[in-house]
């Protein structure tokens, strides 16, 4: 596993972050630049609870085992660590949500870029304050931790060195549990009346106000929910890394998440998920690019199959009145004409990338050096060529042939489709 597992964990955390930011930036169309800050709030709260909590409870900050995490470690089932970890993550989410409420309530009354600027400022203040905290109490000093009152422990957060040597409870299971939970909550939210209110605010704030939507209330609601999941993601991040440092959670971190949301398409949950996956993998892939042609070929084959054989995807009402994605493969009549343009684009891009890779290998050019330059260039080109993002305001299944969807994703496109 090794490196691959690490990338998988990072992807999971990034999905939680990107999907939660979609609620604010994508659904309500507000612009928050403080996601890193909320992540830091959550991460430090979770780190504090887990670290000092295990020192108080068990006298050591070692891995205390528990449900599922104990597969490789020792300790009883559901006895220790994981319960503490889950409680810590919930507390992290609540703390971040509280911070979101405090920041959101005054600033969401203002219009335009002010939320962006205030959240940016908030994120930086959180970073600076966390960096100014007292040093962490060492792992060996469990008795000192026991004697120190809780409010005093909250000031010992490691300062500029960061909060280190945390037990790593955030396994693949927990991270993807959180990711799936976030996806379900946000998806159901989008379908709910609150979600429709969010979308209406994005489309036209004044019109939705005229229709009786309490704009500030719904904006704050979206913001608090988004901060909650950012806090949970912060907790997961701290417990996956075994350390947390506010320096890594400044505005650069917020930018990364914003880029995922915009690249996926404003308000597209599947788009944000896909962008989170791609952007987590991309920097790793650019370190030593693998051959591109197998993936390109596979994509071509899939596209031909979808066009010629016909796979229909659709959303139908399931038994529990939920929406179920069903996939049916059927031979489609061959009357349908070829759509060559997407095929040519995929083939062309694959060939260009493969040629570039081979030339670099031949000329002994170290691509890793140009990694960030390429990343930035791709971002700029993507924004110019496809400003609406990967999926626009829709979800990916809206693009598949013969759908029977009734999703409120698109504003106007849906009505005509």
């Amino acid at each position: 596993m090794g490196g691959f597992a690490t990338v998988l964990l990072v992807i999971g955390i990034n999905i939680v972050l990107a999907v939660s930011l979609t609620v604010v930036n994508g659904f309500t169309g507000q612009f928050s630049m403080g996601h890193g800050g909320f992540m830091a709030v959550g991460g430090y709260v979770a780190a504090m609870i887990v670290y000092y909590g295990s020192l108080r409870l068990w006298g050591s900050a070692n891995f205390a085992g528990g449900f599922l995490s104990s597969a490789s470690g020792d300790g009883a089932w559901l006895a220790g660590g994981d319960v503490l970890f889950v409680v810590a993550c919930l507390a992290a989410g609540l703390a971040a949500a509280g911070a979101g409420y405090l920041v959101g309530l005054p600033s969401l009354r203002l219009k335009g870029d002010y939320l962006a600027i205030v959240t940016l400022g908030f994120g930086e203040i959180v970073r600076v304050v966390l960096q100014g905290t007292a040093p962490q109490i060492a792992r060996s000093k469990a008795d000192v931790v026991r004697e120190t009152p809780v409010w005093k422990l909250a000031t010992h957060l490691g300062g500029a060195q960061g909060f280190n040597l945390l037990p790593t409870y955030a396994t693949l299971f927990w991270i993807y549990f959180a990711a799936v939970l976030t996806l379900i909550v946000v998806y159901r939210l989008k379908m709910s009346s609150s979600g429709r209110a969010f979308l209406s605010i994005r489309e036209d704030e004044i019109a939705s106000q005229a229709m009786g939507v309490n704009v500030t209330k719904y904006k704050v609601r979206a913001f608090v929910l988004s901060s909650f999941f950012a806090g949970v993601a912060g907790g997961l991040y701290a417990m996956y890394l075994g350390a947390i440092n506010a320096t890594d959670l400044g505005f650069q971190r917020s930018f990364e998440v914003i880029i995922m949301v915009v690249l996926g398409g404003m308000g597209s949950i599947s788009g944000a998920t896909l962008a989170a996956i791609l952007l987590s993998i991309l920097p790793e892939v650019l370190r030593a690019p693998p051959p591109v042609w197998p993936a390109g070929l596979a994509l071509l084959v899939v596209m031909v199959i979808i066009q010629k054989v016909g796979i229909s995807f659709g959303l139908t009402r399931g038994p529990a009145d939920g929406i179920v994605l069903n996939i049916a493969i059927s031979m489609r009549s061959l009357r349908r004409s070829w759509k060559f343009k997407p095929l040519v684009i995929v083939a062309g891009v694959t060939m260009a990338l493969e040629t570039a890779r081979l030339v670099c290998l031949q000329q002994q050019i170290d691509i890793a050096q140009y990694r960030m330059v390429l990343y930035a260039l791709m971002l700029i080109i993507m924004m110019i060529v496809r400003p609406e993002g990967l999926f626009g305001v829709r979800e990916f299944w809206d693009y598949l042939p013969r759908r029977r969807a009734h999703s409120p994703s698109g504003p106007v496109a849906e009505a005509s489709a």
Binding site: K111, A116, G121, V128, A376
Partner: protein
Amino acid sequence: MTQLLQTLVDGLTVGSLYALIALGYTMVYGILRFINFAHSDIFALGTHMTITIAAVLGVKAADAAVPAWYIGPAVLVLSMLSCGALGFVIERLAYRPLRNAPRLNVLITAIGVSLFLQNVGQLPMFFGPYPRAIPKLTPDVVLGTLADVNFRLVDAAVIGTAVMLMLALQYLVHSTRLGLAMRAVSFSHRNAALMGINVDRVISITFVIGSMLAAAAGFLYAVRYEGQAKQTADAMWVMLGLKAFVAAVVGGIGNLRGAMLGGLIIGLIEFFGVGYLSSNYRDAYVFAILIVVLLFKPEGILGRATMEKV
């Protein structure tokens, strides 16, 4: 008294740097309504161009000798010209294709340009991945002493150059036909176009002027912090840029005088906070002021409140 005066001098010097950078942010925001995140990187490149051009003109950081008096201004002009050209190219290639795109896209593009500039600057063919030392461009002359505080030539040069550039900008914007066109475009692109103004050209010129001011700030930064070593992808540049942006917002975004006033206020607050409260929270003071100003006077100190049109 000594500490008060020293803080005042430092705050005004750094504040005038913030003011110069803030002008670039506020001009772009006034015309295109987006936060140009790449501006702080132009500022960083201004410092790096200063180092490179000084080296080409024969001034190395290792030399102890003070260069001739004309070297400084020559470096200033050359680095302003090169960064102005860079600003033109960035606007033409990255921002112009997005003129009618949603503002968020332009913002992401700006972040992309910022990342691009930082990392291209790190490449060995440009400034390289290692920190480079800033050479000495002004002599160590003490102009006057008051209560044990030395007023050095460096401070006078920084404040003087900044004030001169700001006066030139004031003249340009308020007393020339080009300035009239810029104000018209910032009022309304459509109306300006109908009055026969070439909107694209005016926007280009705005970017060039903003970038030149950022380059000048980069030069003045090099003058003030001589002997320090910096690399292009240092978070410090972005932080300085952000503070300058805060200055623009505090002063009233879109308002040139506001940006100048905001720069000085932010510089003074930062140094008084560091001097009299605690240096740990250096960055927090600036952002705290930002939030306070936004809560009580969201349009900024000199900005005018705008009505949302239905």
